[in-house]
């Protein structure tokens, strides 16, 4: 088994095991999106215009929740040092952790976006664009989030700091994701989202690995 596989399987398993790493963000997402129609009332036009932005804000915050412990745990328990002794470059190991996070949290969020969108009165025809958009958007959030999580790995109660670092970079996916979800120019919006996702997942691991090497000191 390669280091990539080993890291991916371990992280994926740990996120679903005991620690509730994947369940809490999903619960948050459902809570946030399903409470909105209750709070705003059943008025269709209001929900139709407010729904997509709210859904995307919920996705962004749900991903943000998972970032704080992503590398902090590895730094505290000594796992990070073992990663530095692997023949596989740290960048790839970080990418494997990001991919595991996407599979454990990003994909379920994308699937959860369908019922959430229906609760927010989105037309059924818009669901494919919403689900696909969240898949791409979650990848973009995670790619950026890797850097934020790595930079703050040594900081106690880093949640606020991570938010300050990554939220500005969450803006483009949120803007284009909400555009795709509301049905205007879906193809172009999804293309931009895909660009954000690939750029973040390609560059994020390099920034994160550099930050983690410093943290190991």
């Amino acid at each position: 088994m390669s280091a990539w596989n080993a890291t991916f399987r371990r992280d994926f398993a740990l996120m679903w095991a005991g620690g509730a790493g994947a369940v809490a963000p999903l619960g948050f997402f459902f809570g946030a999106t399903l409470l909105v129609p209750l709070a705003m009332g059943p008025e269709r036009t209001l929900l139709e215009s407010a729904g997509p932005p709210l859904l995307w804000i919920a996705v962004a915050l749900a991903v943000l929740m998972t970032l704080e412990r992503l590398f902090q745990a590895d730094l505290e328990d000594g796992s990070l040092e073992q990663m530095l002794l692997s023949p596989t470059p740290l960048e790839l190991i970080v990418l494997a952790k990001g991919a595991a996070l996407w599979c454990a949290v990003g994909l379920p969020l994308a699937l959860a976006a369908a019922p959430a969108a229906i609760a927010l009165q989105a037309p059924v025809s818009a669901l494919p664009a919403i689900v696909g958009g969240v898949m791409l958007g979650a990848a973009a959030f995670i790619g950026v989030g890797l850097v934020g999580a790595a930079v703050t790995a040594g900081v106690r109660r880093a949640g606020v700091l991570i938010a300050l670092i990554v939220l500005p970079f969450f803006a483009p996916p949120v803007i284009f994701g909400a555009a795709a979800a509301s049905g205007e120019d879906v193809g172009a919006a999804l293309a931009v989202l895909a660009g954000c996702a690939f750029a973040a997942m390609a560059l994020g691991p390099f920034g994160a690995a550099a930050a983690l090497r410093l943290q190991a000191e």
């Binding site: 390669s2 080993a6 399987r9 740990l14 505290e76 000594g78 040092e81 530095l84 002794l85 596989t88």
Partner: protein, 206 residues
Amino acid sequence: MNAAGPFPDKNAVEVAQLTLARGARVLIEGLSFRAEPGEYVELRGANGTGKTSLLRAIAGFLRPKGGQVRIHGAEEPALALHYVAHQNGLKGAASVRGHLRYWAGLFGAPLDEAAALDQLGLARQADLPARVLSQGQARRLALTRLVIAPRPIWLLDEPAAALDAEGRAVLAGLIEAHRARGGIALAAVHEALGPAPSREIVLGLA
């Protein structure tokens, strides 16, 4: 015992005029020594004299303030060494067996699960999550890394902490076998581990 033969490269650890600092405080100044294949070096010294920092500097985690650490005979120093520290590097929710598989993958080594478990006396705990292990068992699990991936240089930071008498004997046996194969072991200790050290470095005397 792991079937790895003697290590092909003549590895050596050379520390030259090493100065280490934590913040503004200088821990080690102008330390020089060289460890050849088959050597077992014990690092001694009171708490806070820089034993851990020295091991971390040799591992390449900590940047020296001055001087150099050279790992001879290894293209990539990080791949020639093992580091066992206070933090065992365990995840509470993952099983003992899961840890072995993860490390084998991480270090790119083929895994003989049964042999590794037997050697450290963890066969009965193989399917337990690491969270329920005792301190000593957790340390034994961390020590399986030494067996899973044969690497010539071992950096051990108080490796016997929390180990019972039998565990200490196992650890001493591992170190002896490692020396016999031409490996190098550096251990920070407070009490002798058992194997007669070929060299003893006492920190904090200056």
